[in-house]
């Protein structure tokens, strides 16, 4: 949480990118503690690796320091406090953390857990669900990431005009 606050407050964008990477890595560690191996691997690789690299690539093309806001942004703070209060109140209706008889664990999940090894011979249940029972969603996701590269290509393929200057070097 401290890293998240630091990302907001720091004005040097390079430090903010590094702090963002640390935040991703810490949340990957949190995922490991919460028994999510696949997700931790993906979040560490994607969040701490790829997102940070892309932000740094943009920082190579844009000024390094953001303009410091002159005063506190009161509308944003009010919206955040009100939304936060509503969410706090709403969240207390959710089932408590970690109990085995939460409703989330009772419908389809026991079937998947039991039958992944019996029907497929595949020990990794997450991979079995992703690729076999819910493989339509994974096809959609592959298409989404392909669309992302199409979008980035359509934005960045033409070489830039000569008139755009480089950012000031304030190292």
């Amino acid at each position: 949480m401290a890293t998240a606050l630091a990302v907001v407050r720091v004005h040097d964008l390079f430090s903010a990118a590094m702090l963002f990477s640390i935040y991703s890595l810490l949340s990957a560690g949190l995922f490991v503690v919460l028994d999510a191996g696949d997700v931790a691997l993906t979040e560490a690789a994607v969040g701490a690796g790829i997102s940070t690299i892309l932000i740094l690539a943009v920082l190579a093309l844009a000024p390094r320091y953001e303009r410091a806001p002159k005063r506190l942004h009161w509308p944003a703070i009010t919206v955040v406090v009100v939304t936060g209060a509503c969410l706090f109140w709403a969240v207390s209706d959710l089932p408590p953390f970690g109990q085995p008889d939460n409703p989330i664990h009772t419908h389809v999940a026991p079937y998947y857990i039991e039958h992944a090894y019996k029907d497929f011979g595949v020990p990794n249940m997450v991979a079995a669900i992703l690729a076999s029972w819910r493989s339509f969603d994974t096809l959609g996701e592959a298409i989404v990431i392909f669309t992302a590269v199409l979008a980035v290509f359509s934005l960045l393929s033409k070489p830039p005009d000569k008139r755009a200057g480089l950012p000031e070097d304030d190292r």
Partner: protein, 150 residues
């Protein structure tokens, strides 16, 4: 960064190891945490490390841009073909059971092919996005070539 000795030596050690680990994660997705996405991202990260040390031009000679474009489409096509093979052989779309004789083997083969397709797509997409961003930087610096860095 080519001139920096420490970085070069460590990169020479690490890049093949990371690529090997990416292949391991891809094909052991059935038995340990892993699968297509993680493997694709790891492979792309190894290539990006290579580009950071040795320059964009050398990186594009290793894996040309056209290959990246083709591979990103090929991955999705592999996925769709496995799905259509299910239809052609008598089942529903993305049904793995008709692919081989034994349903257990068919499911495992189907899962492995599908994860391979996803891994190829993700790796080539991330490499391509990085190339597009990096080339912008190279083009903006008028007269600055990617290989005379530091």
């Amino acid at each position: 960064m080519r001139g920096n000795g420490i970085l070069r030596i460590i990169a020479r050690l690490l890049i093949p190891l990371i690529m090997l680990f990416a292949l391991y994660v891809q094909f052991h997705g059935d038995y340990s945490p892993g699968g297509g996405f993680q493997a694709g991202v790891l492979f792309a990260a190894a290539w990006i490390l290579f580009v950071l040390i040795y320059g964009l031009k050398l990186g594009l000679e290793v894996i040309p841009e056209r290959v990246m474009f083709v591979l990103s489409a090929v991955g999705v096509l592999i996925y769709a073909t496995v799905g259509m093979a299910g239809v052609v052989l008598g089942g529903r779309f993305l049904d793995f059971n008709p692919l081989l004789a034994d349903p257990k083997h068919a499911q495992q083969a189907g899962i492995m092919l599908v994860e391979l397709g996803v891994g190829i797509t993700v790796a080539s997409v991330i490499m391509l996005i990085f190339t597009l961003f990096a080339r912008r930087r190279a083009a903006l610096g008028q007269g600055w070539q990617p290989e005379d860095d530091d």
